[in-house]
């Protein structure tokens, strides 16, 4: 067999590519720090210190939950051949649905109210996905365009609902009322104090882990996943094989949308306690795209990249303590995504040579098997 050079195996391993991209991201961040005359050691030291203490790490976990689940939403769509750029809108409607349910029925016992809020959020997100899917399958409207519009519809709808008398805060705050205590996922104050966790510590990460396993199971193990992937990679062959292509696209967008909505509910019921009337989009759903890209759309990869993203977001918020701008994190994240994208382009640039090599390899395979037969 042909021996692979070190460079070849680097090019083949997505894991190593991502690792290199991340290192490059930090290097570029370091260059910016140096240009600004700041100490790289102090800034990155701060970043690392702030996420490695128990309390800091509990912040990271709490921060990560919505990113992980939004990332799963986008990753699921990538696996099934649609591009869910609408996770942002699904996140917003999901979080608003959970909020409304908890405010309108505050007296339902906790073990019922929390699942109910989840369901409402998933239903709202799924609906947001299905509408876009319907536009796509019925009239062939590109899902990316309609999703971007639906992100804004979700944004203004959320602001509108937050301003309704039954929902709006009674005080002067431009926000909804606080969600019912029964809908909160926070650990008890005693527990948090005793263990030394962050004040917003909650059990949302368990839901994120469950979702990671469910998404993996659907994609890898079920006939549903088989159908969705088949439609995603070659809808003509899928149709020829008897799969209902339109139904699959709708299903994929509904599941992806439900995950986006759930991410919104987890954010609200975990960290936040109410929804503000925003002046701009918050970007959890867009962050989900980044998380899915870094996690190469693999559910486990998305989990890890969601934690990584949460760590950067939390650690980044502490950077001003050493005088470094928090925007540095955006530089690092942007650079990482940039290099991951470049590795894809790089592969395409090499396509011609690769094709020549591949032909040669196919020849080798074929010939090897022929020679084996000859020997028999």
């Amino acid at each position: 067999m042909k021996k692979k050079s070190f460079l070849d195996s680097v090019a083949d391993s997505t894991f190593i590519q991502i690792l290199i991209s991340i290192i490059l991201g930090f290097l570029v961040g370091a260059i910016f720090l140096m240009i600004m005359g700041l100490s790289v050691g102090a800034a990155y030291g701060r970043l690392i210190n702030s996420v490695t203490s128990l309390k800091g790490f509990s912040y990271v976990v709490v921060y990560s939950v919505p990113y992980i689940v939004a990332g799963l939403s986008v990753a699921f769509s990538f696996k099934t051949g649609v591009f869910n750029i609408g996770a942002e809108g699904q996140f917003v409607v999901g979080s608003m649905a959970a909020c409304v349910v908890s405010i309108l029925c505050p007296n339902i016992p906790k073990p019922l109210l929390i699942p109910l809020c989840f369901l409402a959020a998933m239903a709202a997100g799924a609906l947001w996905g299905i509408i876009v899917g319907f536009l796509k399958t019925k009239w062939g409207i590109n899902e990316v365009l309609s999703m971007i519009m639906f992100n804004w519809i979700a944004f203004y709808l959320s602001n509108f609902i937050a301003g309704l008398p039954a929902i709006k805060s009674e005080g002067s705050a431009e926000a909804t009322k606080n969600i019912a205590a029964n809908a909160s996922m926070l650990f008890s104050k005693d527990f948090i104090k005793r263990v030394g966790l962050c004040p917003t510590a909650n059990w949302g990460i368990l839901v994120a882990i469950a979702m990671m396993l469910i998404v993996w199971f659907i994609i890898e193990k079920t006939t549903l996943g088989y159908e969705l992937k088949a439609v995603g990679s070659n809808k003509f062959a899928a149709e020829y094989g008897g799969i209902n292509v339109n139904r699959s696209i709708l299903t994929a967008l509904a599941i992806s949308g439900a995950l986006g909505g759930l991410a919104g509910a987890l954010q609200l019921m975990g960290m936040g306690s109410r929804i503000s009337i925003f002046s701009s989009q918050e970007g959890f759903g867009f962050a989900g795209i980044v998380v899915a890209l870094i996690g190469v759309s693999n559910p486990f990869g998305v989990f890890v990249s969601g934690l990584f993203y949460g760590a950067l977001m939390y650690g980044g918020s502490k950077l001003n303590l050493v005088g470094a701008p928090t925007q540095l994190i955006n530089v690092i994240v942007g650079t990482v995504v940039f290099f991951i994208a470049i590795s894809v382009i790089f592969k395409n640039l090499n396509r011609r040579r690769a094709r020549a090599n591949r032909n040669a390899e196919a020849a080798i395979d074929k010939r090897a098997s022929l020679q084996k037969e000859d020997k028999k």
């Binding site: 067999m1 021996k3 079920t222 003509f236 196919a362 020849a363 395979d365 010939r367």
Partner: protein, 513 residues
């Protein structure tokens, strides 16, 4: 070929004792090739024999491990295709490299555009293109967009692109694999025009008939080794075939006499439109019975593609009936037809036949992933799926072995086709539809595919064969139906058919009034 333009005194290309190794593997093992001015030289070999590797070295895409390449008697080293182009070598790849939304002129001058100051001089570009196309008799519309013209025309653009860059030696990689029979005839005429003008042409192919029709000399490569260079006039197709595969190849298909049974497929008064909304199948009637192969002969564009698409449920028809064992599958989804007895080998194996990103084992269950034992309560059962794949790979000679988990896209064309055949035959349906089942395959694989189609017939299945290869239709079919202008214009027993009569009827000469 008469060799009237061949100038034996001037070799333009000499490849001497070329060895190309990939690691321990020897892909080219001491190959010699000499091409003269004005010569059409064919390189013949099975898929994987090493012909593309050899040509990629001549075009600077790969570097030989040892051996010399001489162009016009001068030894040269090529590091990339640019060096090859500078040496006067042009290559037309099997898959065209054209910018779809650009015009013909823009594509031809791409990279070497004439300029006026800093501005593109499209008027001069267009003039040059028209001039060169007239000079070699390659008529094209210089203003048409690539996406609007046929595959044959796109190939002309590729040839013109090479000529525009000053190529005197043209390498054509499998030039006929995506062409219709008419386009092939035109291509051969173009090649003759080019050699008349002093160009030399190397064609890579495994189609024996085309070598006989077009080439002067033929170099045969088998398993990386140089076998021989022969004068095409002095050998016949059987000689070429046995040199290529290293054993005797049978072109004749053994087919026992048998009496067909009851009707399986009954198409009645079918009408349908093509993608432009123009009626293309116009009241077509057709029957296929158990234990017979019905071949549809016709020139591309007479409705055969649409006919099959309607039967398999991929296209909606306007009116008519399609009875399969008595059940009307007209305008039903593909799954319905499948459940009522239709299986098919589609024309475009990469578009309709396979999900190239999926593993072979997953492709083998494309229609029955929902059935026991492949899934239970909506969960895929990997063990039975894997076992099924192993059996199929052994039973249908899919190579390489142990490739259950490999993406189907990594297989050669012939083996991709075997995956589809394994799947469709094992589905064990009463009707098998095969559309151009051997397109782009080499002789060994063709022999194999034909054997499986005839096996299905012998087992009492009804087979509908649609092919643009008249030879294939004539050697396999029990009944030949000629399609012209959306109707079956005549139906004759396969053994009574001859090429001339069929050709005449395909051109509309046999139309019943």
């Amino acid at each position: 070929m008469s060799k009237e333009y061949v100038d034996m005194s001037t070799p333009v290309i000499e490849m001497r004792n070329i060895v190309k190794k990939f690691g321990d593997f020897v892909a080219n093992d001491g190959i010699n090739l000499t091409v003269h001015k004005g010569e059409i030289h064919a390189i013949l070999g099975e898929n994987g024999a090493g012909k593309s590797t050899l040509m990629n070295q001549l075009y600077g895409l790969l570097k030989p491990t040892s051996g010399d390449i001489l162009v016009n008697g001068k030894k040269i080293v090529m590091n990339n295709p640019r060096d090859a182009i500078d040496a006067g070598i042009g290559m037309v790849h099997q898959h065209f490299m054209l910018v779809q939304p650009f015009s013909v002129t823009e594509n031809i001058v791409l990279g070497t555009e004439p300029v006026k100051g800093v501005k593109l001089d499209m008027a001069t570009a267009r003039k040059n293109v028209v001039e060169i196309s007239e000079r070699y008799g390659l008529s094209i519309d210089p203003d048409a967009k690539i996406e609007d013209i046929s595959v044959g025309m796109q190939q002309r653009v590729e040839i013109l692109k090479a000529l525009y860059r000053g190529a005197d030696i043209l390498i054509l990689d499998e030039p006929t694999s995506s062409l219709t029979p008419q386009e092939i005839v035109e291509l051969i005429a173009i090649m003759h025009n080019l050699v008349k003008d002093g160009k030399s042409i190397i064609i890579i192919t495994h189609k024996l008939k085309e070598i006989k029709e077009s080439a002067d000399f033929c170099t045969i490569i088998r398993m990386g080794k140089y076998i021989d260079t022969v004068d095409v006039d002095k050998v016949d197709e059987n000689d070429l075939a046995s040199m290529m595969v290293g054993r005797k190849v049978s072109f004749k298909v053994d087919k026992p006499e048998q009496t067909p049974g009851e009707v399986v497929l009954d198409v009645k008064d079918l009408h349908c439109k093509d993608y432009r909304g123009i009626e293309i199948v116009k009241g077509l009637n057709l029957q296929v019975r158990r234990g017979e192969i019905v071949g549809i002969a016709g020139i591309d564009g007479n409705g055969q593609t649409e006919l099959v698409e309607v039967i398999t449920g991929l296209r909606k028809g306007v009116s008519g009936h399609i009875l399969v064992n008595g059940t009307d599958v007209f305008n039903k989804p593909p799954r319905f037809g499948f459940e009522h007895g239709v299986s098919s080998i589609p024309a475009d194996r990469q578009k309709h036949g396979l999900v190239l990103d999926f593993s072979i084992e997953d492709n083998l269950i494309l229609q029955n992933y929902e059935e026991n034992p492949f899934s239970k309560r909506k969960v895929l059962q990997r063990d039975p799926i894997f076992k099924h794949a192993t059996q199929s790979i052994d039973g249908y000679d899919i190579r390489p072995r142990q490739s259950e988990k490999r993406p189907a896209g990594t297989l050669s064309g012939g083996n991709q086709q075997k995956v589809i055949i394994a799947r469709e035959v094992q589905n064990d349906k009463d009707l098998l539809i095969a559309v151009n089942p051997t397109r782009g395959l080499d002789v060994g694989a063709i022999e194999y595919v034909h054997k499986y189609i005839v096996d299905q017939r012998n087992k009492g299945k009804a087979v509908l064969l649609v092919s643009f290869e008249l030879d294939e239709i004539m050697s396999l079919s029990d009944v030949i139906d000629v399609i012209f202008d959306g109707q079956i214009v005549c139906s004759i027993p396969g053994k009574d058919a001859n090429e001339n009569d069929l050709g005449l009827m395909m051109a509309g000469g046999g139309k019943k009034s």
